[in-house]
């Protein structure tokens, strides 16, 4: 059972464009929604995260939009750059306790110069 569904599987955008990756979750107990960025040959690294008490969080060119009623959240990368080319994972977790993040299946982003 896949608790976090991520789309698209792959995404190609031109430099300067907007990249959008979507995720949907099922478990309403989740209350923390991070995005991880993974470059080839490296481990995933936390990029940005949001809690459900806000609908949007922005850090530089990266923005998370969160829709609690629809149980969906998305990552927007504004002014996409070739250096943003990586695999992006959304995840969902429960703060505290022994729960661990459940990951989406990843989106491979390629930004063409």
């Amino acid at each position: 059972q896949q608790q976090v569904k991520q789309s698209p599987q792959s995404l190609i955008v031109q430099k300067g464009g907007i990249s959008i990756i979507n995720c949907a979750y099922e478990n309403t107990a989740f209350d923390y929604f991070p995005w991880y960025q993974q470059f080839p040959g490296k481990g995933p690294a936390l990029l940005i995260a949001i809690r459900p008490d806000v609908s949007e969080k922005k850090e530089g060119r990266f923005t998370i939009s969160f829709n609690k009623s629809a149980k969906q959240f998305s990552l927007h990368i504004m002014d996409s750059q070739p250096g943003d080319s990586a695999t992006y994972f959304c995840a969902a977790a429960r703060v505290g306790g022994s729960y661990i993040p459940t990951f989406g299946r990843g989106t491979s982003l390629i930004v063409h110069p």
Binding site: A49, S98, Y99
Partner: protein
């Protein structure tokens, strides 16, 4: 200093062999994990240890055995390696409690079983 370090980076071995992957974290975290990433990049949790005690053991063959000698180390031993074990294995750590959702990953061990 690397926060979460794994060795070796690459591991090529024959079917049926036994191998180990080592992981160490210097972040002072008390929870450590092993994830398996397949060729399609899917990240699957295998084990989670908190203060040297196993707290999560997903449906992993018992050929895989984690060992945690102390809070800073979580090693993965694999017996009788099979072709399907080929993947990238990531160690990760977190601080149990309020920040347990923030994972810090190592750079991975690419295991190739021939």
């Amino acid at each position: 200093d690397t926060a979460v370090s794994q060795t070796p980076k690459y591991l090529v071995t024959q079917m049926g062999n036994d191998k180990s992957i080592k992981c160490e974290q210097n972040l002072g975290h008390d929870t450590m994990y092993w994830y398996k990433q397949d060729s399609k990049k899917f990240l699957k949790i295998m084990f989670s240890y908190n203060n040297k005690e196993l707290i999560i053991n997903e449906t992993v063959p018992n050929r895989f055995s984690p060992k945690s000698p102390d809070k800073a180390h979580l090693n993965l031993h694999i017996n009788s390696l099979e072709l399907g074990d080929s993947a990238v294995y990531f160690c990760a750590s977190s601080r149990h409690g309020a920040d347990n959702e923030k994972l810090f990953f190592g750079s991975g061990t690419q295991l190739s079983v021939l």
